[in-house]
């Protein structure tokens, strides 16, 4: 099963390689990884998408916690949370297809961020499904390039009773 894990780490050089080394050294998967500073500049957050059975996930969690630079590990799997990734998609366009592409962009509330005579570059944020869906719709026009960030996630604030 897939898991999105947030890892708070001290913001020092070499920490990323400790984490990625742990995953590769122990044969754990990384499907995506994104890193950025938190509000406290001494701390970074890594969001890691990984997969494995319960036993593997238990080890991932424990092994991450064991690293000296890791402050906190949180698995979002069993709770309400928001996941987002961002993609830039360069899609082939010409006089005949422009309108159709723009209407897809509109429906998905994406944005055109660059235009050339033969292409649009579209920026879209959303969960994996949404990005997958727009990619499928663009595919028939010809996708020249696609760049995606790793996934980031945040827990939903529990609803007031």
């Amino acid at each position: 099963m897939r898991h999105t894990i947030s890892v708070l780490v001290t913001n020092e050089f070499g920490v990323l390689s400790r984490i990625s080394g742990l995953f590769s050294g122990r044969g754990f998967n990384i499907e995506s990884l994104s890193v950025a500073e938190t509000l406290d500049h001494r701390i970074s957050r890594m969001t890691i998408v990984t997969s494995g059975d319960d036993k593997v996930l238990e080890q991932i969690n424990k092994q991450l916690n064991k690293l000296i630079n890791v402050i906190k590990v949180h698995d979002f799997t069993d709770e309400e949370h928001i996941e987002r990734e961002l993609a830039l998609i360069k899609v082939t366009s010409n006089g005949d297809t422009r309108a159709e592409i723009l209407s897809i962009v509109d429906i998905f509330r994406a944005k055109v961020v660059d235009v050339s005579p033969r292409s649009y570059t579209v920026e879209i944020t959303g969960d994996e499904e949404k990005i997958g869906a727009i990619t499928e719709l663009f595919r028939p026009f010809g996708i020249k390039e696609i760049v995606k960030t790793g996934r980031i996630a945040m827990a939903r604030t529990p609803k007031q009773k």
Binding site: G14, S17, G21, G25, Q59, K62, N65, K66, I68, I71
Partner: protein, 564 residues
Amino acid sequence: MKKNGAQVFLECLLKEGVDTIFGFPGGAVLPVYDALFDSPLRHILVRHEQGAVHMADGYARATGRPGVVLVTSGPGATNTVTGIATAYMDSIPLVVFTGQVPTALIGNDAFQEADIVGITRPCTKHNYLVKDIKDLQRIIKEAFYIAMTGRPGPVLVDLPKDVLTAPCELKYPDKVELDSYQPNYKGHPGQIKKAIDFILSSKRPVVYAGGGVILANAADELKAFSTRLGIPTTTTLMGLGGFPGTHPLFMGMLGMHGTYCANMAVMNTDCLIAIGARFDDRVTGKIDEFAPYAGIVHVDIDPTSISKNVRVDIPIVGDVKNVLKDLLKAISAQGAKDFKGNTKEWHSQIDSWNSTHALSYKNDPKGKIKPQYVVEKLYELTKGDAIITTEVGQNQMWAAQFFKYDRPRTFISSGGLGTMGFGFPAAIGAQIAFPDKTVIDIAGDGSLQMNIQELATAVQYKLPVKVAILNNMVLGMVRQWQEFFYNKRYSHTCISVAPDFVKLAEAYGAAGLRAKTPGEVEGVIKEALSIKGKPVLMDFRVDPAEDVYPMVPAGQPLNKMLLV
């Protein structure tokens, strides 16, 4: 006058209580070597950096204090890697200081530059590159703290030359502030209660104790626990000495070359109490069939050890010493009246396993020397009062089987990595820690040659270390696998082209003795034990065909033992 980084570094070591460092100089650490000239710190000059790390490791295992190493950048640093990985696998506290090229040159393929922090990341508990003199003292403090606390392990600190020469004032911190590292020492009371209830309801309990007992200095507590309830006890290779080897409850080591009794007990127990042990594959054999009838209680300070290989029913994360004390308290509080009665039948079963297939070998007083006989004689003639280190292979297993270890920190062996060449430098480290003790490396002729150069170190410091070479002229353990599992195709395991160890010893200024027949063994050992002020190599020409029994072939369950 202001001091420099190198001088302050040495003062920090003194503040940390370090009395000895093991090292080898070079360009990048020259500032430290210059400062050493005026320092009260004892420095042991080795002949190869791998030797320095194993010595520091032997020192740490014998004393419980951290071993400290100092080497130069580049090749000096890379030579330490096997030693560091050895300590890492066995959870031994070391602090290894490596020189590094000046910060401005890092990343430039500078002369003798190696990214040792990158190289050792997966085989250290943690490591550091000191980029700024203002971080030096904090990092040293943290390095010792991390090495010694929680599950111990090696920590490496890389010291660029400009940091060592930078002006600096001694301000060694008294404590560390590491929010992200808080080992848990106290077992959870609820889990302890559950464990006790389960243990007291069992009929066929076994204690399976490991290196964690020794690391936690908890041998007395373990003995109190096992004897309070009368639970048959086995240890891993790393746990030898953690429970008295001559105690009636001791079943010997378990695992691939464990005793028949210990392995049968584990395969039939209904309650396996694992204490500071990590269910290594050399111990479990075929994992799906390990301890099939047992509920498992597991005490370990490292959560990653728990349920890593084997499902655990009652995990207790905490320090072995604390948890055993709490377990004992709980037993006193609730009493264990019926327990001994309930386990009576189990004890007679254990006794019968113990007697049917006790460890043995076929001695032949007129024939070749049996290696097991040499180990037995070493035990007899030292009365067990010695620190034994081992190399790796058959010698190691015979040392584990035929010598009885009554006290912790008297059996020192590379278990996890199985590093040939470990035993001799480790013996030197132990001898430096305990100059008046008998320290013996039980060695294979192959392994010994991997760090034989340290003979010069032992001679230089007048150390009476003994090396008992079980000289079979083969890479015995590998030869044994070829015999059992590769149709006796002895590919590249004959090492009969070897030095004359007696002459070699003499060439170094050490003593060399040889025994070719069983009748000579005792005399050689007695003479070796009487030699003071220099190392002794004993060359025992043993039967090259001898194999280690019992043996559980890799991947088989523990009750499928090949017996003598």
